[in-house]
């Protein structure tokens, strides 16, 4: 038995994205945001996208490029505080934004990846986050139905990977990446280092390659990956 090779060129993997697709994108701020895959999606040009991402990065960085290029019609997120441009697009109705409590967004994505229909949670009860959500009682206590989220494509940033698509992350670049890497029909990972089979220890794998469809090594790290000078 030999595990299949899923290494690929970024452009050919990104070419699978179609107009109107739902696209999950890893990252919390700069760490873990797949800057190179995002740039390839800008170059590819598919529009009317629904983007699912914790935040909108900062103006001129990360998914702000997709907002600037007009490819995004809807954003499912938790916080836009560092991107005034995204807030402006939202306020003027140019993009539709759905806010989730951060841990609930994480759970909804994980549920999608775990083949679970929804989770029942009491988070946000009594606030406007509960408006419009189905309520189910458990042992007499109300819970909100937080439905699973899946995507057509997930764009993931890994630190190390092998050619089967086993991934490992570092530090706070992990965040939403392992969750989204389970929750899309097509999972594309960029990695800073691509290793042969056996290069990643079986106990050190954060995302099992079974979840990953394509893995591409980054030729270089653009300046968007660097420490932000504030």
């Amino acid at each position: 038995m030999r595990l299949p090779d899923k290494s690929c060129k970024i452009a050919s993997a990104i070419a699978k994205i179609k107009p109107g697709d739902r696209v999950m994108i890893g990252g919390f701020g700069v760490p873990g945001t797949p800057m190179t895959l995002i740039q390839a999606l800008v170059d590819h040009g598919a529009d009317n996208l629904t983007i699912i991402k914790n935040d909108a990065n900062e103006p001129g960085m990360g998914i702000d490029h997709l907002l600037q290029s007009g490819q995004v019609s809807r954003l499912i997120t938790t916080h836009l505080g560092l991107n005034t441009h995204a807030i402006s697009l939202m306020n003027t109705g140019q993009i539709e934004v759905e806010f989730n409590a951060q841990g609930i967004l994480a759970e909804r994505i994980r549920a999608g990846g775990a083949g679970i229909g929804a989770v029942l949670s009491d988070i946000g009860i009594g606030t406007e986050l509960a408006v419009g959500k189905q309520v189910v009682e458990i042992a007499g206590k109300p819970h909100l139905v937080e439905t699973a989220l899946r995507a057509d494509v997930a764009l993931i940033h890994a630190d190390r990977a092998d050619i089967f698509g086993n991934l490992a992350y570092v530090a706070t670049a992990q965040n939403f990446n392992p969750l989204m890497a389970m929750a899309a029909d097509c999972v594309i990972a960029e990695t800073e280092t691509l290793l042969p089979l056996g290069g990643l220890a079986a106990n050190a794998v954060h995302t099992a390659g079974v979840f990953v469809d394509h893995v591409a090594e980054l030729a270089e790290l653009s300046k968007e990956y660097a420490v932000v000078q504030r």
């Binding site: 038995m1 030999r2 083949g115 086993n166 089979l197 079986a202 390659g209």
Partner: protein, 223 residues
């Protein structure tokens, strides 16, 4: 093991195509791995938390922390990964298993599977079987065609508690390969030397014959 069972297992191995992610259930299905070529590109999954299963090991060679879901000591291959039980079934339920091979007490003509409980006689619990049967992209069954008393295990409807409804696509037995279709059981292949009439006789529901010639299957891995 009978020659017919051995040939059934060898035939089932040909169901695995290159690049698949496959879970081999406890019992006869785990033996399918012995019929895969050494360098065959496949990822074997076990529900206790591993992808990339390698050959089974004897106790002398074994790692005490490395077993499959049936308790056999197994090995890794380059690129194996370990994970917890929630992640393992996340793979199953979200459709990342291309194929599972399971044992059966009964299979119905609509593909219902019963393989975990014989009330009053055998009820050790369902384990991971329900999720494998319900969520693998393709479910095939390996079973003797009849039970020890000679009663058919392929039936119009199951009488035992179900594992999952309408899940089985194909059945490999020691007599034949049979597909479950919207029209019911369809005979696909017979074991060399066994006639379609003999298979029909041992089957507890109508058995349709294919429009084409009926091939016989052999023990050799066909690649």
């Amino acid at each position: 093991m009978s020659s017919a069972k051995e040939r059934m297992i060898a035939r089932a191995a040909r169901e695995i195509t290159p690049g698949m992610v496959v879970n081999l259930g406890i019992g006869l299905p785990t033996q399918v791995v012995n019929h895969l070529p050494r360098d065959f590109p496949v990822c074997l999954h076990t529900e206790n938390g591993m992808t990339g299963i390698g050959p089974t090991l004897t106790p002398d060679q074994a790692d005490r922390n490395l077993i499959d879901a049936g308790g056999s000591y197994v090995s890794t291959v380059p690129g194996s990964a370990f994970f917890d039980s929630a992640t393992s079934f996340a793979m199953v339920r979200s459709g990342r298993l291309d194929l599972t091979m399971l044992g059966a007490f009964e299979v119905s003509a609509s593909g219902d599977l019963a393989n975990w409980k014989i009330p009053g006689k055998f009820s050790p619990g369902v384990g991971g079987g329900v999720e494998l049967a319900q969520k693998a992209r393709r479910v095939v069954v390996l079973t003797t065609h009849t039970d020890r008393a000679g009663n058919p295990k392929l039936k119009e409807t199951c009488s035992l508690p179900l594992t999952a409804r309408a899940c089985v696509a194909r059945i490999f037995t020691d007599m034949a390969v049979i597909d479950v279709t919207p029209r019911g059981f369809v005979l696909v292949e017979t074991l060399g030397g066994i006639s379609a009439a003999e298979v029909a006789e041992a089957t507890g529901a109508p058995l349709l014959l294919p429009d084409t010639d009926l091939p016989e299957f052999e023990a050799r891995h066909g690649r």
